[in-house]
């Protein structure tokens, strides 16, 4: 997707408005890393579009249930399985509930689980990866071997077992189940980042002036992994949202009448022969969000970490 024009533009000098300051030969205004990344990101049209759609979906899920005239749990059989109309822009489900309202409600749960599980994944990954990478040596070796072993774990079976251990499936049990076997990649990324950063001169400088290890870790190393972590949020999110949908679909996750995109798809599946719209709508919602997350992750990677552009 890279165009030659773009790499040239990256090196273009920053346009500074000719104020009195610059005309007097004052130092050129500098951009910090995040501003720099922001400028690179907004030049990526696909990533910007994905970001906008992502925000629109978030806003719709958060705001729409508040302003909707329909109760998402109100069963009205006389309105069951209506095609999209002015009154119900997405139609109604098998119980006559307005789908536009219910999809928003389901989105709250699915996206909520998605972000919560992603944060848990990042927390475990950062802890494991930074300990392994920072201490290094035999411990690093052992921890990486253990990680290799855990890579053998199939993800969904372990999520299912975790749900069985925790008993009933709710919001937080789903979060735990979905993060228990998914933090491995993040841990590996953080560890790799730590190992590279550790060799930098400024770390040696900090060490030579007597900074203690926790200051080096918290003040110099971890802030520098922030870029990778921001990318990791959008790399992990699709998997978690799909995981929620899969578990709820096979009846082990969020169960009706509670709405999540997965449980709505499960309800839709029961009716797909007569009314396929019921499974299409939550699935399209899931696909939209995942597509956006993928493009955002790509854009962020190009913006934050231009050296390691993935192929």
């Amino acid at each position: 997707m890279a165009t030659p024009a773009r790499s040239a533009a990256e090196h273009a000098p920053l346009v500074v408005s000719p104020t009195a300051e610059t005309m007097a030969g004052a130092p050129i205004r500098q951009r910090n890393l995040w501003q720099d990344a922001w400028f690179r990101y907004i030049r990526n049209r696909a990533a910007v579009a994905a970001g906008v759609v992502f925000l629109i979906v978030l806003a719709y899920c958060l705001i729409f249930p508040l302003v909707s005239p329909y109760d998402p749990y109100d069963v009205e059989f006389s309105d069951a399985r209506q095609n999209p109309s002015l009154a119900h822009p997405l139609g109604t489900d098998a119980f006559g509930r307005d789908l536009l309202t219910r999809t928003a409600l389901g989105g709250r749960v699915s996206i909520g689980i998605g972000f919560a599980a992603t944060l848990v994944i990042l927390a475990i990954g950062v802890a494991y990866g930074s300990i392994s990478g920072f201490i290094g040596g035999h411990l690093d070796n052992a921890m990486m071997r253990a990680l290799d072993a855990l890579y053998g774990l199939p993800y969904l079976p372990f999520a299912i077992i975790t749900l069985a251990i925790l008993g009933n499936a709710g919001f937080w049990t789903m979060v735990i189940a979905l993060s228990i076997a998914s933090w491995l990649t993040t841990a590996r990324i953080v560890r790799g980042q730590m190992i590279t950063l550790k060799e930098n001169d400024y770390i040696r400088a900090a060490r030579s002036v007597g900074a203690r290890w926790h200051r080096i870790l918290l003040r110099h190393l971890l802030p520098n992994t922030l870029g990778v972590l921001v990318i990791a949020v959008f790399l992990e999110l699709p998997g978690v949202i799909l995981g929620e949908a899969f578990l709820s679909f096979i009846g082990l996750g969020i169960s009706p009448p509670e709405a999540s995109w997965g449980s709505m798809a499960q309800e839709g599946y029961k009716n797909y022969r007569v009314f396929p719209l019921l499974i299409v709508i939550p699935s399209v919602a899931i696909a939209t969000l995942i597509l956006c997350a993928n493009f955002i992750a790509d854009g962020l990677r190009d913006a934050l970490d231009p050296r390691t552009r993935e192929t």
């Binding site: 071997r145 253990a146 290799d148 072993a149 855990l150 890579y151 053998g152 774990l153 199939p154 969904l156 079976p157 372990f158 299912i160 077992i161 975790t162 069985a164 251990i165 008993g167 699709p238 799909l242 949908a245 899969f246 679909f249 096979i250 009846g251 082990l252 798809a265 599946y269 797909y272 022969r273 396929p276 499974i279 299409v280 699935s283 399209v284 899931i286 696909a287 939209t288 995942i290 597509l291 993928n294 993935e310 192929t311």
Partner: protein, 311 residues
């Protein structure tokens, strides 16, 4: 090369032990003893005999050692719910279907995905490229239950007379087409994107220019020189994907009513047949581990530089 394979084989053993241990620990966390359920009123003496028979009174490390021995002697123990049946019977009955489904899906993913990615790379930024990449991105984001239901809805129900695909089952070749497509679409999209990316990068390499300068035909350069190196990341990704595909798909097997291992897994979890759940989990993990092993060995053959670095 032999040393590399032996070393790699040697490392697989502790990995399998750790995975069994992890599963074992998780399974022990599940509340209760299968024989002490309130639904079943069994005299105390029989209960003790049962616990004795299944070794539930042994300390955990003895149980673990027995279980490990069982795994390596290919005896996964009896089912706790189905009287007189072993986990081995269940594997023997349900695994062939999953294996075949996963194999066919993988075949579809590779046979369509890799050429699609190559074509996209060779005609980069053309209409064909954009169309292919659009569909790969979408195909990667759509949940498989939507793909499956739409395939059934259109090719088995709406236009069923034309195509003659049944809606479910796993008997005739017609019944195997739709499930394999549904399961393979996601990996296919992934392989297409991956191949396109690495192919584009490989085509920029100096040795391709050399080959061109030497006067080799373009077709030969692409087929022999570029393809071999472009396939390395594909092979890396293919291992885990194959592992996950052949260990059964919970969703696809349920939708198409295929009596495979993924579908049985869900039945076993909801039926609290823990020895079956544990046996299947260990089996799935071992398959994933072995798939990774094969990939690493292939990787060593394709790219001799990695033999030393990877243990």
């Amino acid at each position: 090369m032999t040393a590399f394979i032996v070393r790699r084989l040697f490392w697989t053993l502790p990995v399998i032990l750790i995975v069994i241990f992890f599963t074992f620990v998780l399974m022990r966390q599940i509340e209760g003893n299968p024989f002490r359920t309130s639904e079943r009123n069994v005299p105390e003496s029989i209960q003790q005999n049962l616990e004795e028979k299944f070794g539930l009174n042994d300390p955990w490390y003895v149980q673990y050692a027995k279980y490990v021995k069982g795994v390596f002697t290919l005896d996964l123990g009896p089912s706790l719910v189905l009287r007189g049946r072993d986990v081995n019977d269940i594997v023997r009955e349900h695994f062939p279907e999953s294996l075949e489904l996963g194999g066919l899906a993988m075949l579809f993913a590779l046979v369509v995905g890799i050429p699609l990615g190559m074509l996209s790379a060779l005609r980069a930024n053309s209409f064909l490229d954009y169309t292919a990449m659009f569909f790969s991105n979408v195909g990667f984001a759509i949940p498989s239950f939507l793909v499956a239901t739409l395939l059934i809805y259109f090719f088995a129900l709406q236009w069923g007379d034309v195509f003659g695909f049944p809606t479910s089952g796993w008997t005739t070749w017609q019944s195997k087409v739709l499930p394999s497509l549904a399961l393979g679409l996601g990996p296919m999209a992934y392989f297409a994107r991956l191949t396109r990316g690495t192919m584009l990068e490989t085509l920029q390499q100096d040795y391709i220019r050399t080959a061109k300068a030497k006067g080799l035909r373009w077709r030969r350069i692409v087929a022999v020189h570029a393809l071999r190196n472009s396939l390395i990341p594909v092979v890396t990704a293919a291992g885990p994907i194959l592992g996950f595909l052949i260990t059964g798909s919970f969703i696809i097997e349920q939708i198409f009513a295929i009596p495979g291992i993924g579908r049985y897994y869900v039945t076993a979890v909801t039926g609290r047949d823990y020895s079956v759940v544990m046996g299947l989990t260990v089996l799935l993990s071992i398959i994933v581990i072995l798939a990774n092993l094969v990939v690493d060995i292939l990787y060593g053959i394709l790219d001799p530089r990695t033999r030393e670095a990877r243990t």
